[in-house]
Symmetry: C2
Subunit: 524 residues, 2 copies
């Protein structure tokens, strides 16, 4: 048995049985081992941003890490942007990155680069295996690191000679390394938060939730606390996974636009944080604050994102004696026959939101990278059946289609709906090929406004004035217009174009009623 095979065996033994891959020469021994070791599902992506984004989506839905297989420094580099999102989402991922054989690195061959240096900014843990006999142990450490609450990016670099070198079977490690248990909110923090919330009817108080407090049970507890104390409830703007829809407690997102966020947060004199950070602006703008809460707003931290905020809310409910309260803010189900006729005519954000709310299937997974188009979809979809909503957590563009790919691998029985801006979708459009190849139940809706629309607003917001013709040109995707139907078909995904709300509703209803890959280009 060589080192690569020992690694595949270790990964599978420790429950990592999916590998998103884009291998090269240095990774061939890992690939070779796949025919000798049962139990690892390998999913090929034609660009590494697909690979790492898929691993992020997999974690968000499966709550356990997938591995990636990346080719040397440049392959890892291509995957960094989506690792950035995954790191900010606290997703656990085990990256396996090939490296030249140790003696070869010294020769400065063309592909030689500082792989540890490339890995470090987007990894929580980096290690380079030193010998074939270390590889299995290193792999198990990587898995343990990836699983460590709330989830971490572990990058293991595998020199080719450690992959092909023979392993002494007797030297194989036994039990997996212990995963450090999640730290928990301190009892003091729970008591302090309870005290703060107890006066919420006198002092306007916000309970701001993030991380694993965005799951159904934790949100129900947050709703109980709101019912018991009169506090308000909101969620972070950037959230890895929110469980929402009918029967679940609604925690409206802190708005993206600074003025809107300031207005939404202004009423509160006190904010209790459960897995969330003090809200800050996505970007810096001249003359506008970066921190979005009033300077005199009191901040009470119940639990940071790595302190099991869901568990902390559970403790807080007990501390407040709120167990028997019915949660406040539960979304009512509005079935399709009570939503009125589907809207018709020109495409409007409200109309699209209405169609989505009416047609979203039970238990769907929505991956939202529609940027400017999807900002109003919260209310109409909150009353659809229960579903998960995944957003970008790191602001790195091109997260949507890969994340949808990984989510679909994690939950083959669920419909995945990827809402994508045309600009965003272009960064990692290669995902469509993997979706077709694996026959994933993913429907992508491309909001084709043929511009980096968000940047028109940002241009003004940063004080750039009104964009002149040359600036406008840098924000426009209409020359030539992208033909998403052709692009999708080029990668084997059935596609159609919708230009009004009727055709959109018809095409979306069809895609939702059947399994398998589909793409709808919605021309705005």
């Amino acid at each position: 048995m060589n080192g690569a095979e020992s690694l595949v065996r270790a990964l599978v033994a420790d429950g990592v049985d999916v590998c998103f891959t884009n291998p090269g020469t240095s990774e061939m021994h890992f690939v070779s081992a796949l025919d000798r070791v049962p139990g690892m599902r390998c999913v090929l992506g034609l660009f590494e941003g697909v690979v790492t984004g898929a691993a992020d989506g997999y974690w968000r839905i499966a709550d356990r890490p997938a591995s990636t297989l990346l080719h040397l420094g440049p392959g890892l580099a291509n995957g960094l942007a989506n690792l950035h999102n995954a790191k900010k989402a606290h997703s656990g991922i085990v990256n396996i990155v090939g490296e030249h054989g140790s003696a070869h690195v010294a020769l400065d061959a063309p592909l030689t680069s500082d792989i540890e240096g490339i890995a470090r900014p987007m990894s929580n843990w980096v290690r380079t295996s030193r010998s074939a006999s270390d590889v299995a142990r290193d792999g198990r450490h990587a898995v343990a690191q990836a699983r460590r609450a709330p989830g971490h990016i572990a990058t293991l670099i595998l020199p080719a000679d450690t992959a092909w070198g023979e392993v002494d079977p007797a030297a194989q490690v036994g039990a997996p390394p212990e995963v450090a248990p999640a730290s928990a909110a301190s009892p003091d923090a729970v008591v302090r938060a309870a005290r703060a919330l107890a006066s919420a009817r006198e002092v306007p108080t916000l309970l701001l939730v993030g991380g694993n407090a965005l799951r159904e049970g934790a949100l129900a507890n947050a709703g109980r606390i709101a019912a018991a104390t009169g506090c308000r409830l909101m969620s972070e703007f950037a959230a890895g996974r929110v469980q929402r829809g009918a029967g679940r407690v609604v925690a409206p997102r802190v708005p993206y636009v600074v003025e809107a966020a300031l207005e939404a947060l202004a009423p509160f004199r006190r904010i209790v944080l459960a897995g969330a950070r003090v809200p800050v602006a996505f970007f810096a703008y001249p003359g506008k604050p970066g921190r979005l809460v009033a300077p005199d707003c009191e901040i009470v931290t119940l639990a940071d994102f790595d302190q099991d905020p869901a568990g902390a809310l559970d403790a807080l409910v007990r501390e407040l004696g709120a167990q028997a309260h019915a949660p406040a803010g539960v979304a009512e189900r509005v079935p399709r026959d009570r939503r009125g006729a589907l809207p018709t005519g020109a495409v409007t954000p409200e109309g699209v939101g209405h169609v989505l709310g009416a047609l979203l299937p039970e238990n769907a997974i929505v991956v939202d990278e529609a940027v400017t188009s999807s900002r109003g979809f919260g209310p109409p979809t909150a009353t659809a059946g229960p579903h998960d909503w995944l957003t970008s957590t790191g602001g790195s563009i091109g997260f949507g289609l890969p994340t949808a790919t990984g989510a679909a691998i994690a939950a083959p029985e669920r419909k995945v709906l990827a809402l994508e801006g045309d600009g965003s979708a272009m960064y990692t459009l290669q995902s469509l090929w993997t979706i077709a190849r694996e026959s994933l139940d993913v429907c992508a809706v491309i909001f084709a406004n043929r511009a980096y629309r968000i940047l028109h607003g940002e241009f003004v917001a940063v004080g750039g004035g009104q964009p002149g013709p040359r600036a406008t040109d840098m924000l426009s995707l209409d020359r030539p217009a992208l033909d998403w139907v052709a692009l999708a078909r080029g990668m084997g995904v059935e596609a159609s174009q919708a230009t009004d709300l009727e055709s959109f509703a018809t095409q979306l209803a069809r895609a939702m009623s059947r399994r398998g890959p589909a793409l709808i280009e919605l021309v705005l």
Copy 2:
């Protein structure tokens, strides 16, 4: 005037008048300045790998740097793989990377990352501007660094507040910083190389050229030296730009495959290096040497790549008194009517090479990322009209279409032919949109073997045995087959499919006879 505008003015003043861009919020002030500062041509790419690869192609043809405009850490990360190739090609590039305002970085907003850390592995020079008044000076330093021989990657990070902050016009710097002159080969090295070559008829000697010694004039000097001394001539496998074709001296590439390289280099007891390094294998393979020359082969360094090897060859010709020699190894022109009929029937590498040799236009630029398909194209194209041949220097996949894009911007009057593997082309296929948008005279030929064909060979070469069904699956792109005609049309590029040599020749002849974007999918 704000910092961003002062930067655009400084870049233009110092001769950097092309900017390949994929901007975001933090770069809006730079974009805004484009409407106030004349002289900067901005070219939008829909993915950052297009942007950095285009800057590499621009340098290789223009011999002066373009700038790039990239959005924060993730935008830079997406561009790293092609910066890796550019760095290994010794291309000069000025990267401008936006960063949050200094105060905002401390807030750990979603897009916050260690931008300097991300930049460092693929940059030769990294600086973060500290204030608006520093930006122009920093920009000029970046240009000077990029131009420093033989060409360097300079990355300037621009915090948003330094971009929007007002600049004291009085504080503007005057003259540009001095560019350190290229170091030159020492007279001793020239004498030593001359002595080594003088006995080439007794001691089999190779003159191995790389870097700027691959330009026409330097190759002619190398040919004179070969004529005068009887040495043999070869060029490095990975070369940024080779001037070749009829009337130019042929310097065959060191082969990629280790066994072939060992065989090609085995006869030589002495190697004189002019801008080249001692040949090493692209990858490490078990039981095979990494260094491809015999252990007892004497290495004589005339000039390293950063010591103006072309100038060193000039000095060497004089030292040898070889000025009057007619260069050896000049490629004869074989006009089309002496090439015989174009081949017909099934697509073979030989047949494709023959068609290319016959149809390659005078003064074309060939960008070669066809990997396994193009290995035999050297001989049949050496006798076509003079042209430039650009190959990947860092082995990072996805270099071809972006490099072709930048080369076409640098030389609008020349035909650019991009030879692409289907697997390679997928990494940065977004280039096609920029090619369409800018109406560039680029014809892409996609060699559609529907596999990572090179990896089939590498799998065996590293000792993986014969790939089993699961391994084969990871190396195959045939499920589903990519439809390159649809993909190209989806981005506005006219495309056609060729399935035999007749249709390929007809389609290529048509593309070569007219200007503008075209793509041919050649099914293998």
